[in-house]
Point group: C2
Chain length 257, copies 2
């Protein structure tokens, strides 16, 4: 474990996300995966199945962050062009990879599946890449440089994240405390901003909660320093109690903090 800041960018590839036909769940899963490892997910981009768009996005992200994760476009059909685009981005060839082919053929043998040109597309891996095992459906992802190319199908994407986990450098774990307030954001915005200035190393976010019976605001404090986090959380709780008192609110139960 290193104490360095470790950052990541995520590239989601697929027309079906941009048309609204498929609702993405890989952004949330990757965000949680990164947070658990102390990796700061700094940016996400979603682009269509167009080679130039993928090349441009992956080159922008890989220059900027410790790691890049991509999801989507590694299947056997003509619209699966991620491997082609990554090879182009890195300026390398895209031959059939013998190890990938062996993995696929072993699975096809088991299932009595015919080998054809479309299926062999999935064994094309950019030169110099290492494979990411796919425990669900055999077709591997790959890692080249700091870029990890994974499937778009969520269950396979998650299996691939698990597969690469041991190879990733973890960052400083960020802890968080959530504090609930029974007043609106506008009421506590001023004092919260003042506390944020006092604790620049504890990031304070404020999120209005809709759909409750009464006004609710969630304040989320995040820091990699447990002591400073606890101290700031104490101050924010005190500020919320004061706001409740001023609003003549009954002191809400413990749960409300």
């Amino acid at each position: 474990m290193s104490a360095d800041t470790v950052t990541a960018g995520l590239l989601v590839i697929g027309d079906e996300i941009l048309s609204g036909r498929t609702k993405d769940v890989n952004i949330g899963a990757t965000a949680e995966f990164c947070t658990d490892l102390g990796i700061e997910l700094k940016e996400v981009r979603v682009v269509s199945d167009e080679t130039d768009d993928i090349v441009e996005a992956v080159n922008a992200l890989r220059a900027r962050y410790t790691y890049v994760f991509t999801t989507g476009g590694i299947g056997p059909t003509h619209d699966d062009i991620t491997a082609d685009a990554i090879a182009k981005a890195f300026g390398v060839a895209l031959p059939i990879n013998p190890e990938a082919r062996a993995m696929l053929e072993a699975r096809w043998k088991q299932t009595g599946t015919e080998v054809n040109e479309a299926r062999l597309r999935m064994a094309r891996i950019p030169e110099g890449a290492s494979l990411i095992v796919n425990s669900v459906s055999a077709a591997p992802g790959f890692r080249i440089g700091n870029v990890h190319v994974m499937a778009g199908v969520p269950i396979i994407m998650r299996a691939m994240l698990e597969a690469i986990l041991p190879t990733l450098k973890a960052g400083k774990k960020v802890m968080s405390v959530t504090i609930k307030a029974a007043v609106g954001e506008g009421t506590i915005g001023g004092p919260l901003g003042a506390l944020q200035e006092q604790y620049p190393d504890v990031k304070m976010g404020s999120y209005p909660q809709m759909g409750h019976d009464r006004i609710m605001t969630e304040l989320v404090l995040r820091s990699s320093d447990a002591d400073r986090l606890a101290e700031a959380a104490g101050k924010v709780r005190e500020m919320v109690r004061e706001a409740h008192r001023k609003a003549n609110l009954e002191m809400p139960d413990e749960e409300a903090y």
Copy 2:
């Protein structure tokens, strides 16, 4: 209605999405909104609550697409910096807007809410922008140039999309046909790719369906030309029937196509 191609980029702003704490739903909603209007959503970016990141992303997107939509960061707390970032991106001042202030004060009067500095942050609107009405909680969004700045809370975001709808230029409506196949992507990848080459104006996507009792693949054809779409769909259905026949599958019921 113009028959021109109309494009859009979406910028989602918020640490809570990148940490995984909040699962975004605005991407899917905006994608559907655009598709319904014939606007091609070409790219989505998610960035954190950092002024420079927002400025860079909004400047990249507004130069590239007909419209830019942003969600998040327009509330009353210190972490709501979208208006500041947009003013910076356009190089304009960010004064209190009298119209926005009047909208907010009318609501606050109704609800007996105190006017304070934090709440007045929500009336700061970049010079030259016009307001986007917020029918849910009064605090307006705004439009400056081709950029539409909206709330992150999904219900407010949707209300704002409805509010701007009449001001947007619609594009050529894209229609779609979904065809289900009871074989894997690898089986039909070859013939599907050949049909895609015959119908370059009908975009064909292939999506494996996990979690069914048997192997299922959904083929989605999209085009703004109804006749070509119908012709291509006929060819694809024929191709799927042939694949089923070869696999000695019982002809699935109509539903399977």
